[in-house]
């Protein structure tokens, strides 16, 4: 496959989530990309991006961790680095911002990268999220043409999370046409509609799940997550579709506590949008790893088998 418009060569930054509890996200992304004729190269020797935590512990460590990944992507000649986890997307974009803005800092970081045995980072990457990649690369018509199992009548609530669009100084949302609307993102909505699903009005699209404090401020996180599910329920959604492993895993693993505290009716299956795409493109539930989720998406999807 030749390099693709509009991103050129794309490197996939898996991040710990895709090698962990969100493995189904990567597996289903690979199926979808193959069906659509899209290619990317996986950065196998990646390290943790530092997420939202390391930057608070030490400034340099918070920049070196993502910077090494940026350098790895340039080493294979990539033009864009793609994350599936908005947390990784944020962290890589943040490093890009600081390194572009402060030349002396960039020199220092590059000196350390060389010490590690990596190449210097030349700032030439665009940081992108899987959502943007799938939406911008082929067009909605092509996606529609691949659907073998239309999800007609499936009521979905698309949850984007905080960091897919925010903050705009890092992610450049609102500045570029290739980027989603910062306050009311729609790329995932459009992808899901292309599958035949019905996207319900959903005001909690970019509301916070309390991610960084799931462990340190658990009551707040559980309440935030309950609010997201409540908004989905209120609008008649049957399933929460996520593009964020931080939010997805947090909501799924807190589901029992949420139901106990705020009502059983908030229980809802959670699924990655790429899993739904793979399923609609005709792949089996096993191939799309729909049974690996902590909740059970097949409970609502089985009627499309």
């Amino acid at each position: 496959m030749s390099a693709q418009v509009p991103y050129g060569k794309v490197a996939l930054y898996p991040g710990c989530a895709l090698d962990g509890m969100a493995k189904q996200y990567e597996v289903s992304l690979a199926l979808v990309a193959k069906d659509l004729g899209l290619t990317y190269e996986r950065l196998d020797d990646y390290n943790c991006c530092g997420a939202l935590e390391v930057k608070n512990v030490n400034t340099m460590a918070g920049l070196l961790l993502p910077a090494r990944n940026l350098a790895l992507a340039r080493k294979i000649g990539a033009d864009a680095i793609m994350s599936a986890c908005p947390g990784c997307h944020y962290s890589l974009s943040r490093a890009q911002y600081y390194l572009s803005k402060y030349p002396k800092l960039r020199e220092k970081v590059n000196a350390y990268l060389e010490k590690m045995g990596e190449i210097k980072y030349d700032l030439q990457l665009m940081t992108i999220h899987v959502n943007e990649f799938l939406y911008n690369s082929v067009g909605i018509e092509v996606i529609k043409s691949k659907v073998k199992r239309p999800l007609t009548g499936l009521k979905v609530a698309p949850y984007y999370g905080c960091l897919y669009t925010r903050p705009k100084p890092y992610t450049l949302t609102g500045y570029l046409r290739l980027k989603d609307d910062p306050e009311r993102p729609v790329f995932m909505d459009k992808l899901l509609e292309a599958l035949g699903a019905e996207v319900v009005p959903f005001e909690a699209k970019t509301m916070c799940c309390g991610g960084p404090h799931v462990y340190s401020d658990p009551d707040v996180s559980i309440n935030l997550e309950a609010r997201i599910l409540k908004e989905a329920r209120r609008n008649g959604a049957e399933i929460l579709v996520v593009d964020c492993p931080l939010g997805g895993v947090a909501i799924e693993s807190n589901m029992n506590k949420i139901a106990e505290r705020y009502g059983e009716d908030l229980r809802m299956p959670v699924v990655y949008f790429t899993q739904l795409m793979a399923f609609a493109f005709g792949h089996s539930p096993e191939e799309a790893m729909l049974t690996a989720n902590l909740t059970n998406p097949m409970s609502v999807l089985k009627r499309y088998l």
Binding site: C16, Y90, K108, P212, S216, D217, N223, L224, S253
Partner: protein, 230 residues
């Protein structure tokens, strides 16, 4: 350097005398009350300087106190004492005491980035809030909070496990530190699908970055470096 304190009650107290006589005439009613000082002293202007000199805090000076950040803040809804605009105000005035009084709130930022995203002045608000909190921690003005404990735990896990984390390892470590409780039901919900899909084994033993020991040394060296916004 006295600065009028606008956020705390301007009238710090009232002196009420039993009997006031001026020029032989006795005052009564409210005329016998006197307000005590309207300004607070003891501000430390070096707080602003130090924060503005950090990479995360440099944009603090651009704030014009409009309150856009606070009005949309996620944490504000849970904790009325939590407010990025106010933290910035206190830090710039150098009101350390005011910040110390808010120590049970200031660590609670969930990094949702609404504030940074919406600030009309380009203040990286979420970063500045952390810069202020880090100032307090660095100078030993506040005690460690659960958020900082978790941040450090996260970093340690990355450093000690070949440059990567796994949710299960992090979860297990947090349970061990007593930060969360996990009931049997949660354990079953968690492990069932993971065992079914074979993910469990991988999660407990995340693969390592090839050259990690060397990289780790470099990171540890770099951490000693002071970083300025330049």
């Amino acid at each position: 350097m006295p600065i009028p304190e606008l956020e705390k009650s301007i009238i710090k107290g009232v002196i009420q005398k039993d009997k006031v006589v001026i020029d032989g005439i006795e005052l009564d009613g409210t005329w016998n009350s006197f307000m005590i000082e309207r300004t607070q002293t003891g501000y430390d202007p070096s707080v602003w300087d130090e924060i503005a000199n950090t990479l995360e805090g440099v944009t603090i000076s651009a704030c014009w106190q409009c309150g856009t950040c606070t009005s949309g803040c996620t944490m504000r809804e849970y904790d009325p004492k939590y407010g990025p605009r106010r933290f910035i105000d206190l830090a710039r005035k150098g009101d350390k005491q005011g910040l110390i009084e808010l120590q049970n709130s200031i660590w609670r930022c969930v990094s949702c980035q609404k504030c940074t995203h919406r600030c009309p002045k380009g203040v990286l608000v979420e970063e500045v809030v952390h810069a202020i909190h880090n100032y307090l921690l660095r100078h030993g003005l506040v005690s460690t909070d659960p958020g900082t404990v978790f941040d450090e735990l996260f970093f340690e896990t990355v450093m000690n496990n070949g440059g990567r984390i796994s949710e299960l390892m992090l979860g297990a470590a947090s349970v061990k530190k007593g930060m969360v409780k996990m009931g049997l039901k949660d354990l079953i919900t968690m492990t069932g699908p993971l065992l079914r899909s074979g993910l469990f084994k991988e999660l407990m033993k995340p693969s390592k970055v090839k050259n990690w020991e060397k990289i780790r040394e470099v990171i540890e060296e770099a951490m000693k470096e002071e970083v300025r916004p330049e």
